[in-house]
């Protein structure tokens, strides 16, 4: 069964690390659906959110192969627990001054923000889980999408709902 998985990878923030990760994926025939990366609070490290797909055995291999890389600090399969994920999209749709309201109301419903307006188009920013982004795209597509860019997913595990009995959090 092909399952979508969200893997969070903490890596050393050094030149070539992204190439090691992406090279491992392509060299071993694993699929990258999206990959987002930026430094953590501590600039020595970066965190990647990789969305991939595969059966249980492939996912196990991906995680082990990631752990084997020297610059990889920690690998977490977020899909195994509860997590929050977001993606941002910037999308420019056709909208002349006369029919701009349709785009604006769609943006409004999806709690999007208009970030640019031109004489024949508007550019909207929407953030949300991937199903929300997909739904937003469906709504806008009849209007004519001129250009769009997605950041790829970023994700974080949910905090513990119950306090731990003791010890560090």
């Amino acid at each position: 069964m092909e399952d979508r998985r969200v893997i969070s990878v903490l890596v050393e923030n050094k030149p070539g690390v992204l190439a090691r990760i992406s090279g491992m994926f392509s060299g071993r025939g694993f699929n990258i659906h999206s990959l987002a990366v930026a430094p953590t609070l501590d600039p020595q490290y970066s965190r990647m959110t990789i969305v991939t797909a595969g059966n249980e055995q492939i996912i196990e291999q991906i995680i082990k192969q990631l752990r084997k890389l020297i610059n990889v600090v920690k690998v977490q399969d977020l899909t195994r627990g509860d997590y929050v994920d977001r993606e941002m999209i910037l999308i420019r749709v056709k909208a002349a001054a006369t029919d701009r309201s349709q785009a604006l109301s769609a943006a409004n419903i999806f709690r999007g923000k208009v970030v640019d307006v031109a004489h024949d188009s508007v550019t909207v920013e929407v953030t949300g889980a991937q199903n929300k982004i997909d739904a937003f795209l469906q709504i806008l597509s009849p209007m004519g999408i001129i250009e769009l860019i997605r950041t790829g997913m970023v994700a974080i595990p949910r905090g513990k709902k119950e306090p731990k009995p003791k010890g560090k959090s």
């Binding site: 050393e12 030149p15 070539g16 190439a19 090691r20 090279g23 491992m24 060299g27 055995q57 196990e60 291999q61 082990k64 192969q65 752990r67 084997k68 020297i70 610059n71 990889v72 600090v73 920690k74």
Partner: protein
């Protein structure tokens, strides 16, 4: 300056660091970007290292690899930038596939010129990323010593492998103080893995109950120096052992419990044993396709215990019942201890009586064999005689193809680190330089490269190296005028269409040896084989023995690619 430490060049820091790592031999080839290193090598370190100038950088890496396989210590190589680096790629990939600790230092253009397509510039770190365990570009002299320490640590620990360190010329020329670090800055690299004891116990329980057990041992047993533990376990449990190509020598080939090699050209009894087993203990092996044949039909009746240091090897090709991530030595020692405490092993001999009877039956049913009546030399006969005459005491390297398989089948290896062969990558041209590496490590031992007439030509230029350093490497060419293994597949699976595998146009290897200053001998008939080997081995210095063998001899038994290991073509 009073009170400050002496400043030395990057080149000197490199060589001082190699001394700290107790490196004795360096294989390599000079060039523009490494002039400073070579200058320092001659001026300041000529008494510290045995430097071996290969005639091609690929051969330099193979020699370092052969040195590593023969000794268990890392092989070291220094080459220049650009083509020097790109020529090491095959050597690195060979070492990577077989988990061999090799550290390669490449020159690089000065840091300000990197990326500008400078003369002899190549992005060698980019190029070798997928064929090294790890690699580095050292862009600051302050990082040099620490990087070298890390490189050796990574190459030699865990699952070993090659590491490349790229050294820009300006970093080699810069000056700094030298202090070799004692601690490592590799907080996330785990070198020791403690095996999961419940899994070891579960493995022990399965072993005690098994009625048809087989140990399937690979190169990991050799790299972990676990051959003693393996033997103890096998003898204690009366458990037969089959070895992969990489594992040959990890268990004595002459031992009554040895089944020989398994897989595509393995013995009938090894493959039948695995196919019919009820328990398979894989140690330091990775269920390679040349071993398993058709995966769906591999050891279907067996519970599988997989002990390996690399978690990625486990559950990669085959689903196993008891995974154990451990160093082979440590893992086997713990398994032995648990079994001893259970007090059961004594009963193993009796419980496995039927199993041993079956193994004996398979053995007598189908032995390795060839036609002994011919006047034309059979290649198998050459290897068999070589085994007899050397009493199994030589270090054997091989090239790749039929020569390699016949060596694996007909030369029995009783000790680890005596069989040097490119298993994973299958690199033609590996054997001769690997023999050079082994001979450098063991000047007094007999080192023989078993070669084909095709693959010997892939690094034949190393004849100059053996002459220059007076290395008495012996080369046995099984000369059939074909790229024999490919021809065999063309015969079997491609309707005898011998597309571009006929290489009758080859040099006269006897004259070629003489042209370099080595000795060349030739045998054309079966009767000449023994005297030729004896004469060749008694001759001082390097010798090429050219055996003109049966042109269309094949390697058998054979499991066709993608078939079950039960479906062997026997002759």
């Amino acid at each position: 300056m009073i009170g400050t430490k002496l400043q030395i060049s990057g080149a000197q820091i490199l060589l001082r660091s190699l001394k700290e790592e107790r490196v004795e031999a360096i294989f390599g080839y000079p060039g523009g970007a490494v002039l400073d290193i070579f200058d320092s090598l001659m001026r300041h370190f000529s008494a510290d290292f045995r430097f071996v100038l290969a005639r091609h950088e690929q051969a330099a890496v193979h020699a370092a690899d052969g040195y590593a396989r023969a000794t268990g210590r890392p092989g070291v190589c220094i080459v220049t930038s650009g083509p020097g680096g790109t020529n090491t790629v095959t050597g690195l990939a060979t070492a990577y596939m077989d988990s061999i600790p090799v550290v390669v230092f490449t020159g690089q253009v000065p840091t300000p010129m990197i990326g500008n397509d400078a003369f002899q510039e190549a992005d060698i770190v980019g190029i070798t990323r997928p064929c090294t365990k790890h690699n580095y570009l050292v862009s600051r002299i302050e990082d040099l010593a620490g990087t070298i320490k890390e490189a050796f640590m990574i190459a030699t620990t865990g699952r070993p492998g090659p590491v490349l360190v790229d050294l820009p010329k300006d970093v080699m020329q810069a000056e700094s103080t030298f202090e070799y670090p004692h601690t490592l800055k590799l907080p996330f690299y785990k070198t020791t893995i403690k095996p999961h004891m419940p899994s070891i116990k579960r493995a022990a329980e399965l072993m005690i109950k098994a009625e048809k057990p087989v140990i399937y041992a690979g190169g990991g047993v050799i790299s972990a120096t676990a051959h003693k533990e393996l033997r103890t376990l096998a003898e204690m449990m009366s458990c037969p052992v089959t070895m992969t190509l990489m594992g040959l020598g990890c268990f004595p080939g002459t031992h009554p419990l040895s089944l020989g090699m398994l897989g595509m050209h393995g013995t009938y009894r090894a493959n039948m044993a695995v196919a019919n087993s009820d328990l398979l203990l894989a140690v330091g092996a990775r269920f390679d396709d040349r071993v398993t044949g058709k995966l769906e039909e591999f050891a279907t009746g067996a519970k599988i215990i997989h002990l390996d240091i690399d978690p990625t090897s486990i559950q990669k090709n085959i689903s196993v019942d008891v995974p154990i991530v451990a160093d082979a030595k440590d893992g086997l020692a713990r398994l032995i201890e648990v079994l001893k405490n259970k007090g059961q092993p004594a009963k193993s001999g009796k419980r496995l009586k039927d199993w041993h009877a079956a193994l004996t039956a398979w053995r007598s049913e189908q032995r390795l064999r060839f036609d002994r009546s011919t006047e034309t030399i059979k290649p198998q006969y050459v290897v068999e005689k070589l085994y007899e005459i050397t009493a199994g005491n030589a270090i054997i390297s091989t090239e790749v193809g039929q020569n390699q398989m016949w060596a694996a089948q007909y030369y029995l290896f009783d000790r680890p680190r005596t069989f040097l062969s490119s298993g994973g990558l299958g690199t033609m041209g590996y054997g001769f330089p690997a023999a050079i590496g082994a001979q450098i490590a063991f000047p007094d031992r007999l080192v023989i490269d078993i070669a084909g007439d095709g693959s010997i030509q892939m690094n034949i230029q190393e004849l100059a190296t053996v002459i220059q350093y007076k290395l008495p490497v012996k080369v046995v060419i099984l000369n059939n005028g074909y790229l024999g293994m490919v021809r065999q597949w063309q015969e079997r699976f491609y309707d005898n269409v011998y597309s571009h595998t006929d290489i009758m146009v080859s040099p006269d290897f006897v004259k070629l040896a003489e042209a370099y200053g080595a000795t060349g001998l030739r045998a054309r008939t079966t009767a000449e084989v023994e005297p030729t080997i004896k004469k060749g081995l008694q001759t001082d210095g390097p010798v090429i023995m050219d055996f003109i063998v049966e042109r269309e001899e094949g390697v058998y038994p054979m499991v066709p690619s993608g078939k079950s290991i039960k479906e062997m073509i026997l002759v």
